[in-house]
Amino acid sequence: MTAQGRPDPTQAAAEERIGRVVQGVLIAVAIAAAAGAVMGDAGHVLEWGAVAAITAIPLLRVAWLAVRWSRQRDWRYVALALLLLALVAVGPVTALLQR
């Protein structure tokens, strides 16, 4: 368990790791978006893939934070992260139900 009121000692390495993952995904997204734009109608799948991936990044980052904070037993912030993800889900679920 990490001491309260101090940074988690593994925080810097973990943030560096997630930063590298995000950058890798962004490079793939940029290539897919550029290829999709060049290919015209045939590239729509690539463009949709790029937009879907970029939309997922911030939400996956919150899920990753919830996992990290649960390992630190920082339950208050785990609850807030899960509440946030639940609140975010309300919009698209409501839109789906209204279709």
Partner: protein
């Protein structure tokens, strides 16, 4: 389209405001229908937020706990705002937003110096966000600056208000969140800006998912905006890392005045 997204995302990331508030009016002025321009603005915010992530994480200026805590309040406000959208005059609300932007610009622009100074007794092992609290420390010019956000209740309330405004008017809340964090909660402006860049990406993602489900996103234009915003967000976060906190704050003040002018023009 890509160039406009790069420019507005770069400026938005620099001040931690998101670029949609500038991109959407620009697209509308150049003939894009509002119904198409709004989702494209959201794409630009999500892309720029993610593009800035690597730099902000490396700089250790994002306080995720602060971002998640305030974002929960904003999202709740946005849901309430979306439900109440029909009962509040959008024009009156836009004028209120312009006044808020001018007030925030004056508050940040008039302040001299920095609140949180480097502390020689704080070692590099304390850099980052602190477990169990919203406190933290960030590196600045080889030194470590500890900070303790204040007036958390007022800050969370103002974030809820920014969400409410987003829900009612569709205007992104970044221009309220960064000054509220910096001027109300006394979070260092660089931390406030990086944290808001992280949190507005979440709000925009949530709204973009709705647009995708409803089928109101033009994916060809979105791909162009995405490419531009990735470039702009990367450049904006790199420039921000090199600027001193007072310079970021002054830049933010000027940007807020520009946004107030855009809001009045929209109203």
């Amino acid at each position: 389209m890509a160039a406009a997204a790069a420019l507005t995302s770069g400026i938005g990331t620099l001040g931690g405001l998101g670029g949609a508030i500038m991109l959407v009016p620009l697209l509308v002025l150049t003939g894009t229908p509002v119904s198409q321009a709004t989702p494209l603005g959201l794409v630009s915010v999500v892309a720029a937020s993610s593009a800035a992530a690597r730099r902000h994480l490396r700089e250790r200026t994002v306080n995720h706990r602060l971002g998640v805590a305030t974002e929960s309040s904003s999202t709740m406000g946005a849901v309430v705002g979306a439900l109440a959208a029909g009962s509040i005059s959008e024009q009156a609300l836009t004028y209120v937003l312009a006044v808020v932007a001018v007030g925030a610009a004056l508050a940040g622009g008039r302040r001299k110096g920095v609140r949180w100074k480097p502390d020689p007794t704080t070692g590099p092992e304390l850099v980052g966000e602190w477990v169990g609290s919203l406190h933290g420390a960030y590196p600045l010019d080889g030194a470590v600056v500890p900070y303790r956000p204040r007036r958390i209740g007022l800050g969370v309330l103002s974030m809820g208000l920014s969400g409410l405004i987003t829900g009612v008017s569709g205007v992104g809340g970044g221009f309220i969140k960064t000054p509220a964090s910096s001027e109300l909660m006394h979070v260092p402006v660089k931390v406030a800006s990086s944290t808001t860049t992280f949190s507005i990406g979440i709000t925009a993602s949530a709204a973009l998912l709705v647009k995708m489900v409803r089928g109101t996103l033009d994916v060809e234009l979105a791909a162009m905006v995405l490419l531009g915003a990735l470039v702009g967000g990367t450049i904006g976060s790199r420039i921000q890392a090199r600027l001193s906190p007072p310079t970021v704050r002054r830049f933010l003040s000027v940007l807020l005045l520009v946004i107030a002018a855009i809001l009045v023009a929209r109203a």
